[in-house]
């Protein structure tokens, strides 16, 4: 059954049960004239409907999670010993073939199956015509396993349907019998709603856990092939896309990428911090209403432009411009230089710094400014010597958040920075970043279990750890700062 149909069915069941239970509650109220229900009939309806649908849904979800494990266990157990001894990567391919065969089993005729068993030359094409797409040609022995798996699957489905219906019916009758004048249906329903709200807020936690585990898991996988120390302290990045199975897998030193990332981010901050901070100061301390109504939306537009557009601008206009400009000065500036990516990224971060700093500067109490003016300070003296020092922790926090954003920025560097992993201090040359390499290692045809692709997760982990550290630290600073003036 498709997901859409299932949802529709659930909704229909929900409405039906709700209506039935509500009517029951009403008739009970009518029968016990004079004795009002604790909760309005509607709540009784919702209560019973929830009791019917939720257990059934839980069963469906649990089954959907458990079934693949069960099936893969059957498969692994049935593998011939020589296949079972193969490395995990090849084995997963075999399992994939068997699984696809099992999925399409019902569409195969006896003749087709015989053809597969003989492993004829055109089997793959024949199967493709029946919507069974295989990554590699099946071997004869796979047929039996596929049949077993497909049978196990249909049994499992049947069982699943039975248990689901049982859960629904059980829930329904349990609820149905509880409907009575004294039933605190509203409280119960509200408790369930609260549970729902709580689980929604837990999604954020699960996302973080998901990120940590997925990145960590694949990174551990990577580090089983390439030593951690080689990754962390290696100064050469050269992950040759070698043929599978060859033993030279290249070098995966993260240092050149880390250097490139930090170097470009440094230039970005070099542009963004002064411009963003001065804009914020001007807007919050000097600008009149008219300037503000123009400048604020301008910065918001700058913030709303997708990074891909900045990247495109750097690629088609700013990079070539810098190269030609450098050429006219006799400088050899690469179109994909550190400078190109850094400056464009800096502009992208300007609104980020300016809006955060604006908030922070506005939070500095007016009394401090008054105190300074009262001593005869000019406005700029007040800002430089009283307001900014007072706002410093907050501004440091804002800059760190901006740094974290620059380090994690992808599209600008993918389009405007180089791809060669240089360890150079020359801002006119190309460097590359961790994000560029994550993209380049994971796009295109990939073999999932090679170090060349898995290194992307190790890079992702490094990126995540760095940015998380910066974020936690920066958010903590900003929070403490805000509390100071609240």
């Amino acid at each position: 059954m498709s997901t859409g149909l299932l949802t529709l069915f659930c909704a229909a069941a929900f409405v039906l049960v709700w209506w039935l239970a509500r009517s029951r509650a009403r008739s009970i109220e009518q029968a016990n004239r004079g004795q009002r229900l604790h909760s309005r009939p509607v709540y009784h309806g919702v209560y019973v409907a929830l009791l019917t649908v939720i257990p059934a849904l839980l069963v469906v979800v649990a089954w959907a999670i458990a079934e693949p494990f069960y099936l893969s266990k059957i498969m692994s157990a049935a593998l011939p010993p020589d296949v079972a001894a193969r490395p995990a990567g090849e084995q997963s391919l075999v399992l994939l073939v068997i699984n696809s065969l099992a999925d399409g089993w019902s569409r195969l005729t006896a003749a087709d199956i015989a053809q597969v068993r003989e492993a004829g030359p055109d089997v793959q094409r024949m199967l493709a015509a029946k919507d069974i797409f295989l990554p590699s040609a099946p071997e004869g022995w796979m047929v039996d396993i596929a049949r077993d798996v497909s049978q196990a699957k249909s049994v499992s489905r049947l069982l699943a349907t039975g248990v689901t219906v049982l859960a629904a019916v059980g829930g329904f009758f349990y609820g149905w019998r509880k409907v009575a004048t004294g039933l605190r249906a509203r409280n119960l329903v509200e408790r369930m709603m609260l549970l729902g709200l709580m689980s929604a807020s837990a999604v954020a936690i699960f996302t973080t856990i998901g990120i940590v585990f997925s990145v960590l898991f694949e990174s551990i996988h990577f580090f089983s092939m390439v030593p951690v120390t080689d990754f962390l302290f290696g100064t050469v990045w050269d992950p040759r896309f070698s043929a599978a199975g060859s033993d030279s897998s290249g070098q995966f030193g993260v240092l050149p990428l880390l250097w490139g990332t930090l170097y470009i981010s440094f230039f970005a901050l070099l542009v963004a911090v002064p411009v963003g901070l001065m804009s914020a100061i001007y807007m919050s301390e000097y600008a009149n209403e008219r300037v503000r109504t123009v400048a604020k939306p301008m910065l918001e537009i700058l913030a709303g432009i997708p990074t891909i557009v900045y990247g495109l601008f750097a690629l088609i206009a700013f990079g070539p411009f810098l190269r030609d400009f450098g050429g006219s000065l006799g400088l050899d500036i690469s179109a994909n230089s550190v400078l190109t990516a850094g400056i464009v990224m800096g502009v992208m971060i300007i609104p980020f710094i300016s809006s955060l700093s604006d908030d922070i500067i506005s939070a500095v109490p007016q009394s401090l400014r008054d105190g300074s003016y009262g001593l005869g300070a000019t406005q700029s003296e007040t800002i430089k010597q009283v307001v900014l020092p007072a706002a410093l922790p907050g501004i440091v926090g804002a800059v760190l958040l901006a740094a974290s954003r620059a380090i994690g920025e992808t599209m600008i560097v993918v389009m405007a920075a180089g791809i060669a992993a240089n360890l150079t201090a020359n801002p006119f040359e190309q460097v590359t970043t961790m994000t560029v390499k994550i993209v380049s290692q994971l796009t295109g045809d990939l073999e999932f279990n090679s170090p060349q692709t898995l290194v992307a997760f190790a890079l992702g982990l490094t990126l995540f750890v760095i940015t998380l550290g910066l974020n936690v630290f920066a958010l903590h600073i900003v929070r403490t700062y805000r509390e100071q003036y609240d």
Binding site: M193, L197, M198, A200, S201, A204, I205, T207, T208, G210, I211, S214, V215, F217, M278, S279, I281, Y282, Y286, A287, A295, M298, L299, L302, G304, I305, P306, I308, V309, L312, F313, I316, A317, P351, T378, S380, E381, K384, L401, S404, R405, I407, G408, T410, M411, V414, M415, T435, I438, T443, A456, F457, G460, L463, F464, T467, L468, N471, V472, L475
Partner: protein, 439 residues
């Protein structure tokens, strides 16, 4: 008490009118003006960059909305299209459509059909996509067979480039994309009015193509639409529910503190990391199809969730406690107070925040690259499970194409993307203005 006259401050303060003091005051005011100028300069820098960025993109991209087309009197000759008299779909699909278009072209430009070299030159003026165009016309109305009808047919990318001034006529023939003969034909055709730049509907109706003139955004637009739909259907209810819990019900304890810190951090996690999550969880672990817009939508949902939660919480906080107290005072339960009174009042703010979240999701590229949305998809997907791409990803793919014709299309696609973003932002601003309530 200290001796006042000995105080250096006193002695110097008395001399406000000394030259030294005046010079110092002048210097201080100069510093004041300089500081103010830095602020103006910073704003000017940002403004100038914005203006240059927009003029560059629009200047490069506006031509993508025009495409050169030939007006040809195409004869849908039955002996070419359906020589054996059958008009079933199979026959029509395989018919030699190029031939009928080329015949019409040879006539108008006066090319000698017998000369192989000349024929080849002439053929190169028409796009390779015209067979699809003619075929679809006839498939839509088979009565056309046997008739002659004027049709605007796509010119080849180089012709288009020439008309848009992107090809230099002065460079030597052997290095030019169009030879002298082709140049003469094109000029003559333009003079006759049978070759002209028309509005480029193809940009919005074609899918991926290796030829710039038949490459369009439809797949990307549909893909982006599916993703936005997924985000709206998932991120909004989950985000609002989470915000309601955290703002209205959550006790102040370690657990909610953790969720709070966690949400703020998630909002700052690099988007590409969400792509890695999507790849590892949705594709490798759950086995959802690569390149599907559903997976893109799920990843963007997780990415947008913190934004929606933070915006919704702000909207909920803005509702004054007196509303809650009022509802509780007439005997409503807390849940009823929230859903009947607080939530409706916070709705405009929540909507605005949600749209801003969608805007962020629509412009996001990096995570989508991770989950295979960089695919060459010709057919328009009809469900979110089919392969698709997204608008920003399409820009990325076109930007990395070597062909010249893709440069203007890349910028054109950017204009389309910015257009969508502009509309959504305008909607958010409208909602804010229309429903904003000050307490």
């Amino acid at each position: 008490m200290a001796d006042i006259t000995a105080d250096p401050a006193r002695t110097r303060a008395r001399a406000w009118n000394s030259d030294e003091a005046r010079a110092r005051t002048r210097k201080r005011y100069a510093a004041e003006r300089r500081f103010r100028m830095y602020g103006i300069a910073a704003l000017c820098f940002a403004t100038a960059f914005l203006v240059i960025l927009f003029t560059t993109i629009i200047g490069t991209g506006w031509t993508a909305f025009l495409q050169s087309k030939f007006l040809l009197n195409v004869t849908f000759a039955e002996d070419v299209i359906a020589p054996d008299g059958k008009r079933d779909e199979q026959t029509l699909r395989l018919a030699n459509w190029d031939k009928i278009a080329r015949t019409a072209l040879y006539q108008v430009i006066g090319a000698n059909e017998a000369d192989r070299k000349e024929r080849k030159d002439a053929n190169e003026l028409l796009s390779r996509g015209i067979d699809v165009q003619l075929r679809d016309m006839v498939l839509a109305s088979p009565d056309l067979i046997g008739q002659t009808k004027p049709v605007w047919l796509l010119a080849q990318g180089n012709v288009d480039a020439l008309l848009k001034g992107a090809i230099d006529r002065d460079i030597p023939e052997d290095r030019r994309q169009l030879n002298n003969r082709q140049l003469a034909w094109v000029d003559a055709a333009v003079d006759k009015g049978i070759l002209a730049k028309k509005f480029n509907t193809g940009l919005f109706t074609f899918g991926a193509s290796s030829q710039p003139e038949t490459a369009g955004l439809l797949v990307a637009i549909v893909g982006s639409f599916f993703m936005m739909l997924t985000v709206a259907l998932l991120a909004v209810p989950i985000g609002v529910a989470a915000a309601i819990y955290l703002e209205e019900f959550a006790p102040k304890n370690r657990w909610t503190d953790l969720i709070e810190v966690n949400i703020n951090n998630l909002a700052a996690v690099p988007s590409i990391v969400f792509g890695l999550l999507g790849l590892a969880v949705f594709i490798s672990f759950m086995g959802l199809p690569r390149s599907a817009s559903l997976v893109g939508g799920l990843v963007l949902t997780l990415m947008t969730l913190p934004t929606v939660i933070i915006a919704s919480r702000a909207a909920l906080t803005a509702v004054p406690p007196s509303i809650r107290e009022g509802a509780l005072g007439v005997g409503a339960s807390k849940m009823q107070a929230v859903f009947h009174h607080v939530l409706p009042l916070a709705l405009p703010g929540i909507m605005t925040g949600t749209i801003l979240g969608l805007v962020q999701a629509l412009g996001e590229t990096a995570p989508l690259l991770m989950i295979g949305l960089v695919a060459f998809v010709v057919d328009v997907p009809s469900t979110p499970l089919e392969p698709a791409t997204a608008l920003p990803v399409q820009i990325y793919m076109w930007a990395s194409s070597a062909e010249r014709g893709f440069v203007e299309r890349t910028a054109g696609a950017t204009i389309v993307l910015l257009g969508f973003l502009f509309i959504m932002n305008a909607l958010a601003v409208f909602l804010r203005r229309r429903f904003e309530r000050r307490w």
